[in-house]
Symmetry: C2
């Protein structure tokens, strides 16, 4: 999921390419680029789908939204398809990008080669720390936040990347938008509020890990139901596991007659067995 979006007609897609398809185009493009470098002239939907890690029917349907670029009995012309997808994604033009917040992550992003190779050009690196100003990162001198608006306007930047601490993300986003940016890639763990017409996509490592943890818990616990899954991973016993600290207070009655509703909660759970309300020592958040 991308962002904390709120605007969205929902029934607005009257002609465009489905969002799900757009999200896969870069995947196909990557696979096609690899084929192109090996001078492979054509590929079947089956081969390409396999390389991209998707279902071949899905791939064909995706391409059908772009038009009929394949040849029955043969497959797709690699070079031609690379061009068509690039064009559709808007990669046939140069996209200047600004990265705001040149800390650990921002610096890594600035050094990332995947930028330039796809038509994205780092127009500027911005940081609020005066001590950073002038320092070269990835061959580009970091500029102070004061330069933000000027840089955006002078370079016609429409895409901004936020890699500042969470607390600064919204203010930075506001400035980016005010200066003309209409697309933001946010790495800070916060929900950004932006005006209609501005796209925000977010990348949150913490969320990804939590999703993995959820599934991991099911695997080890083996109980699909309500979960008081128990540790003891399948693999070699976990020494490190176990209860460490106890940042979070156990359920317990914190307010009102919560105590009552804690047990009765079993009344609604679908197929699960009652009497659980499992209470394990809590370890976590902050």
């Amino acid at each position: 999921m991308a962002t904390g979006r709120n605007h969205r007609p929902a029934t607005s897609r009257s002609r465009g390419i489905p969002d799900a398809t757009v999200a896969r185009l870069p995947l196909y493009l990557r696979a096609l680029t690899a084929l192109s470098e090996r001078s492979v002239p054509t590929v079947s939907s089956e081969e390409l789908a396999s390389a991209a890690g998707v279902n071949s029917a899905k791939l064909r349907k995706d391409f059908s939204y772009l038009g009929s670029y394949g040849t029955r009995g043969v497959g797709y012309d690699v070079e031609y398809l690379v061009y068509q997808i690039s064009r559709e994604l808007g990669l046939t033009q140069d996209w200047p990008v600004v990265i705001v917040g040149i800390g650990n992550l921002g610096a890594a992003l600035a050094n990332y080669g995947g930028f330039a190779s796809r038509g994205f050009r780092v127009a500027a690196l911005i940081d609020a720390d005066p001590a950073m100003a002038g320092k070269p990162v990835a061959g580009i001198a970091v500029q102070h936040s004061d330069e933000l608006e000027r840089v955006i306007e002078e370079n016609g930047v429409s895409i901004g990347v936020i890699a500042t601490p969470a607390a600064s993300a919204q203010p930075v986003a506001d400035r980016l938008v005010a200066a003309g940016v209409t697309s933001i890639l946010n790495f800070a763990p916060t929900v950004l509020s932006v005006p209609e017409g501005v796209d925000v996509r977010k990348v949150d490592l913490s969320i990804e890990l939590q999703i993995l943890a959820f599934h991991e818990q099911r695997k080890s616990g083996e109980l699909p139901d309500d979960g008081r899954a128990v540790p003891g991973t399948d693999i070699g016993e976990d020494a490190g596991g176990g209860v460490t600290g106890s940042p979070v207070a156990p359920p317990a009655a914190s307010v009102t007659k919560r105590t009552a509703s804690a047990a009765p909660a079993a009344t609604d759970r679908r197929g699960d067995e009652p009497g659980n309300d499992g209470d394990l020592p809590a370890v976590m958040p902050a």
Copy 2:
């Protein structure tokens, strides 16, 4: 959101929580944690939904999968909900994690505080470069790849993070899986092939930017070649981004009578309008 699903029969979710909901739980948890720190006792679905950037009806339905933890006429008990969601996500236990590939990105990840704050503990940092061995990154000494299997087994690691170059990703994934890892977060731009039962989530900056570029292109009104102009979105934008270079080579008839189909492609495109922002997952299962 969570769209492309591959393994995980989808139907196997039996009485489980929908994937889309699982993906949002961390979002709710973050918002709730913030409220908790401000000692707010209860929240209504409306308030919390707003803080998490989602629709209130969706939030209520999401919570309904966990059970009936709200009180009509009042809302949800913050502390209680924090605990329930943490438990459901498996955050009440400690998850040791290994990061493989301590380069620009790997080092940034190692320094990321969002790890520990959610119950994830960096058990080890692994890199193939002998020169890196022993060097401390984020307070932890980097270990050579040879130690990979031992570290995983000794710590009962079940979650691995790959931050190596694309070419090394698959081999690293194979070793992780062979050693017992069953969940992988992949930052390398490659499709990983893993056995059934192993979850892989990927984060690809390049793909995110390309998706943004797609929408950005629509906003600026011109659909190169085949498509004609589209009504401007809203924000009086300045066609941001001056067209500079042309990263991608033009079509050119490379095979057969391709030249003909270039124009006729207009036959299928219907009319559409922009405005929609795909809320697809920034990260998809792979």
